[in-house]
């Protein structure tokens, strides 16, 4: 019972994990992208569309990431090059993503993913690891897409904390002028990482439409993008911590469904992820410290020759 619940928690947490990682890497470059919901929807419709058209699972994944990247580049152009207000640009991106996905999505209403792709993302036991008692089955008897999320989370952690690029990225997000003075190409760093962030959000959406659901629904993300933005704070901008943050909320997402027969209003239980998000946000703003603070340059446009 518990094991099967936790097994589903990983699945339900995966879209959140991708999106949270995406937003972490975006915010680390100093950009608060409130368009996560829109990017996820773009990824969802991109992944589904390409999967549906080609029946190729790999192309479907790339499709989701690619469309997410395109959306993020629009945001990057507005906020990096044109120095637009990040809050409003992000909101615009969400409206855009929602619009596009439901426009294009009308073609797919009621359609299912091709069997080839559903088969490709069947759970798959990793030898040895899946034999670990209890957690082995939960973590290592999942689908390939989920394994991809593990790999990405860990690589992002290593990238951010142990490589030169990561170090430079942190500097760009904290103090772009300082980074600039050491010869770091601030604009390039911002563009690249906003784009990577968009790709990851796209993957989050694509996971929903290709694997988790796997048929087309309008507004398939149902607010997960916004929760991901809150999870970034919960995870204090740390890709490793994003793992458990995402799974906790993955659990909250399905708890209402699981407790259906407990004679308690499902609609009230469905509030849980949102209520807990608020609690988490308030909690993390009460105990602030230098090590889990947002990047100092967050949402401040940078312009070298400003006078």
């Amino acid at each position: 019972m518990i094991e099967s619940f936790l097994y589903s928690v990983i699945i339900s947490g995966t879209p959140l994990l991708f999106a949270t990682l995406g937003e972490i890497i975006t915010e680390k470059s100093g950009h608060l992208n409130l368009g996560v919901e829109g990017l996820m929807l773009l990824g969802a419709v991109g992944g589904f569309g390409i999967g549906f058209a080609t029946s190729n699972p790999i192309l479907a994944i790339f499709g989701g990431a690619f469309v997410g990247t395109l959306g993020a580049l629009v945001y990057a152009f507005l906020t990096v090059s044109l120095r637009a207000n990040q809050v409003v640009s992000g909101l615009a991106l969400t409206i855009f993503g929602t619009g596009i996905s439901s426009y294009v999505g009308t073609i797919f209403v009621g359609k299912k993913m091709p069997e080839v792709i559903i088969d490709f993302f069947k759970p798959f036991e990793i030898p040895l690891l899946s034999k670990i008692p209890f957690i082995g089955n939960i973590l290592f008897n999942q689908d390939l897409f989920i394994y991809l999320s593990y790999i990405i989370a860990i690589s992002l952690g290593v990238y951010l904390y142990n490589t030169r690029f990561g170090l430079n990225l942190i500097a760009v997000g904290e103090n772009p002028s300082a980074a600039d003075s050491t010869g770091i190409n601030v604009t390039l760093y911002k563009y690249v990482h906003i784009a990577i962030g968009g790709a990851l959000c796209g993957l989050g959406g694509a996971y929903l439409s290709i694997v988790e659901v796997p048929q087309w629904q309008d507004n398939i993300t149902a607010g997960r993008g916004w929760i991901a933005i809150a999870l970034v704070i919960f995870a204090s901008w740390n890709p490793y911590k994003a793992l458990y943050a995402a799974y906790i909320f993955g659990g909250l997402n399905i708890i209402g469904f699981r407790m259906q027969n407990l004679n308690f209003s499902q609609n009230l239980l469905d509030m849980l992820p949102y209520v807990v998000t608020i609690m988490v946000l308030v909690g993390s703003s009460i105990k602030k410290s230098k090590n889990n603070a947002p990047p100092k340059g967050l949402s401040i446009p940078y312009f070298r020759e400003e006078r």
């Binding site: 300082a178 980074a179 003075s181 190409n185 230098k290 020759e305 006078r307």
Partner: protein
């Protein structure tokens, strides 16, 4: 002596919007030389050096480094030519360690070899006599330590052309001495060092040659040994000026403000004010000295009712005002103007016009829920005439005025409310000598009227000339209150550094 020319800047021009910051400037620095770039605030020194370090692009003109013409389009290009700049406001990433800051932007293997890096940093630090702890986070560092990191950042990459923008602005006199030793040391090892400054004594002390800029143009380059502070001043200002600041003798009147055993902690629970006690009399200017962030801001804010106090009393004409709202305190006649580093952040609203900025203090007096702007219109027009503020009109956003005029608006407003106590912090930040003197005159006028004045300043020379007594802060503690007429810079420097406590000397 046939010396190698490291830097040559020819006919450099640069405009920002309609302002010509540099107009056909010429500038040359040799190997092994300490070259001072002297000029008033706004003369174009920083602009020129920002072009040499690749931060800005010149509109026209050419730059030669070691005889070769270069075109910089980003700091990276300048770094490739071994040019490093230490900005006045340190460009360091607070959450990173010294080590991480030093290798930012540098090429190398994907992963960083931490141990080897520390070893290399120690080696460079030792060579130049710089103290360093590579694993300390910047936010835990003192100003001196931060400066060491900045210098190491530049040296570690093997740069041999160093630009330092006002490096002594935030240092105590003792720290300044140490820095000059390091600078001489670097020069003797073959570096070319450019120091941007407006302090004449430092030019005389450390430089080999001086280039003077005025209003965006090169005036001349002279050999330091063959010149004098008087001559340099005249070149810098363009006319012979009397640099001395008046200190009118005014009979001290009653004690207007009395601060007793004030304690305060910041948000992180760190003590920022530690048992502060002092008195302020009418007709007196009390200077507050101390390295940056020693509690100056907190004292101002505590008196103005803006900073939470742990314990202690603040008596204004025998009333304890602790716990009063800021509005009540303003209405009592305590006026505070704090000029932050970016000038506009506090005290004024950049995008609003003069009237609405005047309202910031005035609206407390208006009883109706609707605001009456008509009387203020007159006051503002009068202020423009009285203080000779250059502006297209009272309805013009203040951000479009020049620095000196913005500060006149700010201080003019404070004075116009006829305060009993005037607190000014960094009132002359970023102003040229002429504007500085206008502000000093305004303050002295108030003193003669019997207003009690607190003057928080950065430049010890000015504090010593303008104030009657000086309160020296170190880490939120009063190290002493000294008579400005009899004390000297060294004494104050010692106190600022937290040296011997001579609280009883006054």
């Amino acid at each position: 002596m046939n010396q190698e020319v490291f830097v040559k800047m020819k006919n450099i021009s640069k405009s920002f919007g309609t302002v010509k910051a540099n107009n056909s400037v010429n500038f040359e620095v040799n190997k092994g030389e300490v070259h001072a770039l002297l000029g008033e605030n706004g003369a174009g020194k920083s602009t020129l050096m920002n072009m040499l370090s690749g931060f800005y692009k010149p509109d026209s003109g050419s730059i030669f480094i070691r005889g070769k013409e270069v075109k910089f389009s980003s700091p990276k290009d300048a770094i490739n030519e071994k040019i490093g700049m230490i900005h006045q406001h340190y460009k360091l990433v607070d959450v990173q360690t010294a080590k991480e800051n030093i290798i930012l932007g540098q090429k190398g293997s994907l992963f960083v070899n931490s141990k080897k890096l520390s070893k290399n940093i120690y080696a460079v630090a030792k060579e130049y006599g710089l103290p360093i702890n590579p694993d300390k986070k910047i936010y835990d560092m003192s100003i001196g330590e931060k400066q060491s990191v900045e210098i190491l950042k530049v040296l570690y990459e093997g740069n041999d052309i160093l630009i330092m923008d006002e490096p002594t602005a935030v240092l105590t006199p003792q720290e300044t001495k140490k820095l000059f030793e390091i600078i001489r040391n670097m020069a003797s090892k073959g570096c070319a060092i450019i120091i941007i400054t407006h302090k004449l004594n430092e030019v005389m002390e450390v430089s080999d040659r001086v280039t003077i800029l005025r209003k965006g143009q090169t005036i001349t380059t002279v050999i330091t040994k063959e010149t004098s502070p008087e001559l340099l001043t005249n070149l810098m200002v363009g006319k012979s000026v009397n640099l001395s600041i008046k200190r009118p003798e005014v009979e001290k009147s009653d004690e207007i403000l009395k601060v007793e055993n004030l304690f305060a902690k910041n948000q992180n629970g760190v003590k920022v004010l530690n048992d502060i006690s002092f008195s302020l009399y009418g007709g007196e200017i009390l200077g507050i000295a101390g390295v940056a962030n020693s509690g100056q801001k907190e004292i101002c804010e505590a008196i103005a009712g803006l900073y939470p106090i742990e314990s202690g009393n603040i008596f204004y004409e025998n009333d304890d005002i602790v716990g009063n709202t800021p509005g009540e305190i303003i209405n009592k006649g305590i006026s505070m103007s704090f000029i932050p580093e970016d000038r506009l952040g506090m005290g004024l609203v950049a995008s609003m016009d003069m009237i609405d900025n005047y309202l910031l203090k005035e609206f407390h007096n208006q009883k109706s829920i609707f605001l009456d702007r008509n009387p203020i219109l007159k006051t503002c027009n009068k202020m423009i005439d009285d203080l000779q503020i250059v502006t297209p009109g009272v309805n013009h956003p203040v951000k479009q005025l020049s620095g000196g005029n913005i500060q006149k608006v700010l201080i003019g407003r404070e004075i116009n409310t006829n305060p009993k106590i005037l607190i000014t912090a960094y009132a002359v930040r970023g102003l040229d000598i002429g504007s500085c003197h206008t502000i000093y005159d305004l303050i002295n006028e108030q003193k003669e009227k019997g207003v009690a004045i607190m003057f928080i300043g950065e430049d010890l020379d000015i504090l010593l000339q303008l104030c009657d007594s000086i309160l020296v802060l170190s880490e939120g503690t009063v190290m002493g209150i000294v008579d400005a007429r009899t004390t000297d810079k060294e004494t104050i420097g010692h106190l600022m550094a937290g040296g011997l406590n001579i609280k009883e000397a006054y």
